[in-house]
């Protein structure tokens, strides 16, 4: 069994934290994990992408081949669209619908969401709104972790444990609002 996930977003949205908690949860669930990301100049408000591969057998490449990803997990809808070529036939897109318009030529959000819905079974969530209801808009990435948990072979309890441990140093208040965000993200995705 192998599950490849392309994570996409914009520098500052927490793509790398999202990748790290999903990778750690998969590892704790006994899977082999390889996760690749890019730091440095690529993070400064630009497009950020990370590859997460989890499997029950050894993984060779750190990069996901085109046409093989089971999931594209987007923190931003245009960024989710950028990697459709990596999706396997039958794969799905789970993405936030909240646009981040830090570029002058951002396309109409309606056309962006229409393009996402062309992928059968895609799940689109207003992650910013769900995060705000959970107590902090900064938890939009954790909302999307919860949403992704519906399709990923990761135990939800393990994932929650990883969120708690990953944010423990930020204090109990932040941990609790992120756990709420995680659960709400899962409900929002499961409810579709």
């Amino acid at each position: 069994m192998k599950t490849d996930v392309v994570l996409a977003g914009v520098g500052g949205q927490g793509v790398l934290f999202l990748a790290a908690i999903l990778a750690e949860a998969a590892r704790r669930d006994g899977m082999v994990v390889k996760q690749g990301e890019v730091h440095g100049m690529a993070q400064r408000g630009g497009a950020v992408q990370a590859d997460l591969r989890m499997a029950t057998e050894p993984i060779e490449s750190g990069l996901i081949p085109r046409g093989t990803a089971e999931l594209i997990l987007g923190l931003e809808p245009v960024e989710a669209l950028r990697y459709l070529a990596y999706l396997a036939p039958g794969g799905t897109v789970v993405t936030s619908s909240s646009p981040l318009r830090n570029i002058p030529d951002y396309p109409s959000i309606g056309r962006v969401l229409d393009a996402i819905h062309e992928v059968p079974g895609s799940v689109v969530i207003d992650a910013d709104a769900v995060a705000r209801e959970s107590g902090t808009v900064k938890a939009a990435n954790v909302v999307m972790a919860g949403a992704a948990s519906v399709v990923l072979p990761i135990d939800f309890g393990t994932l929650e444990e990883c969120v708690r441990e990953g944010l423990a140093s930020k204090g109990a208040g932040i941990v609790e609002s992120n756990v709420r965000a995680l659960r709400s993200g899962r409900s929002a995705a499961a409810g579709r």
Partner: protein, 551 residues
Amino acid sequence: MALSDRVSAGYVCGVSSEPRVLLGDEAVALAALDSGVGAAYSYPGTPATEIFEYLEAHATDRGVVAHWCVNEKTAYEQALGVSMAGRRALVSMKHVGLNVAADPFVNSALVDITGGLVVAVADDPGMHSSQNEQDSRWLADFARILCLEPATQDEAYAMTREAFDLSERFHIPVVVRLVTRLCHGRALVHPTEPRSQNPLGRTSRAADWTLLPSASRRLWRGLLDLQDELRAFTEATPHNVFRPGDGGRLGVVTTGIARNYYQENLSDLAETPEHLHIGAYPIPSDALVLLAERVDRILVVEEGYPFVERALRGVLPHRWEIRGKEDGALPLDGELTPDTVRAALGLPPREEISFGGLELPARPPQLCRGCPHADAYDAIAAALATVDEPVVTADIGCYTLGALPPYEAIESCVCMGASVGMAKGASDAGLRPALAVIGDSTFLHSGVTPLMDAVAADTDMTLVILDNGTIAMTGLQPTVLPGSQLDSMVRGVGADPAHVHTMEMKPSRVEELAALVRKEIEHRGLSVIIVVRECIEAVKKRRRATGGAGR
């Protein structure tokens, strides 16, 4: 505090050897700690930064000296001193950093390396965060020393540990060559039993460390004589491994992480090729000959320049068909991917879904909202608005993003510190007004030396130092000296105090800074303007650390 004061004799770290998920960079750092490294030095640079950051975080527990340095050359020289004292040293840097450190690097191959000296160099094929994609294997070869190239995070750990032993065995520095995808990829690493630090003790003679021509000739001869031993090592090491195939006529040579992309596609090949993987250099030529004898065609897959491929091709006619980067089977530029390697193996592309064809805008990196550089660029633009043909040279850091819209404020970025010398050269050539824009850390790294040339000639140019108090682009590492030293440093090298200004910047002072720039470009000699305002990300980080309190 001296190294010897911080380390008790026979100190063995108590960190457990449990397997853990690490970045490639972190695996190198952990291996250095477990190898009993006495000191580590570096200058930040993507994708190498996290090597030193991980090591520094554990340095106190392990009794290790860890210092960020002013540049890669000074870092290398400090590591060399540690080796001379008999202790082990790690120096880490990005690929272009090795250009800066090339002088001590190449010459240190001649001296009698005592404590293991490991040079971890991170190349950036694809130029995610670099100005070129040079391949450090050529520099290791140029210096005639050993180079190990891991394919996985686990190998990065094991090879770094071995590199220290090899350095002490052959008395040469050893390069561990990394690439972005390994540095910034996470996978399971299996640490092994930590080793004690070396006791302080020099064993070598002054004559083996003093590169006067008479000694250099003897030491160079010695290094040349060592080459057979180094090659004997790389012929025998399990890092260079032959895997027989199904007896077909295709051979595949992989190096470093290229092996992963090859193996990713292997199960789709009808026939398994004869395969030689190379993870240690000098190139194991006997192993290549053994592979060649079994096949007619050889595909060479390596991340970086076609290093092994060029050696195999040679210039004389031979009977083998060599495929790789030089004949277009793989792209010469950019990173390898599982897909480009798949095509080179003759496999059809995997099926991809297509969709409606909405044109997606690019999203390049940009200055953060509230970045002080934005105000500085607004002021420079205002000052130059009425000037016919100004030249604005710039340098390496976040402020290089001033090249992109909406600023488009700079017109060069070449290497660390180049802005200063290039502005002087442009002015010397007659292009004026000439402005140079450089960050505080880049100025310390390599800007102060060309400033001395400009002072000596009293060049008609204006140097703008953007002091944001941190090394921002690589993740807010500390500068080696505080910004408060810059003004006295500039005056200290002899710049005319009447034309040296330090200005505390804020958004409301854009016009004031513009007026100052306007005034100084009219001065027919050297002017220096230091613009001081803390990086917005550093402010946020400090606020988080102090629980939300303001400045």
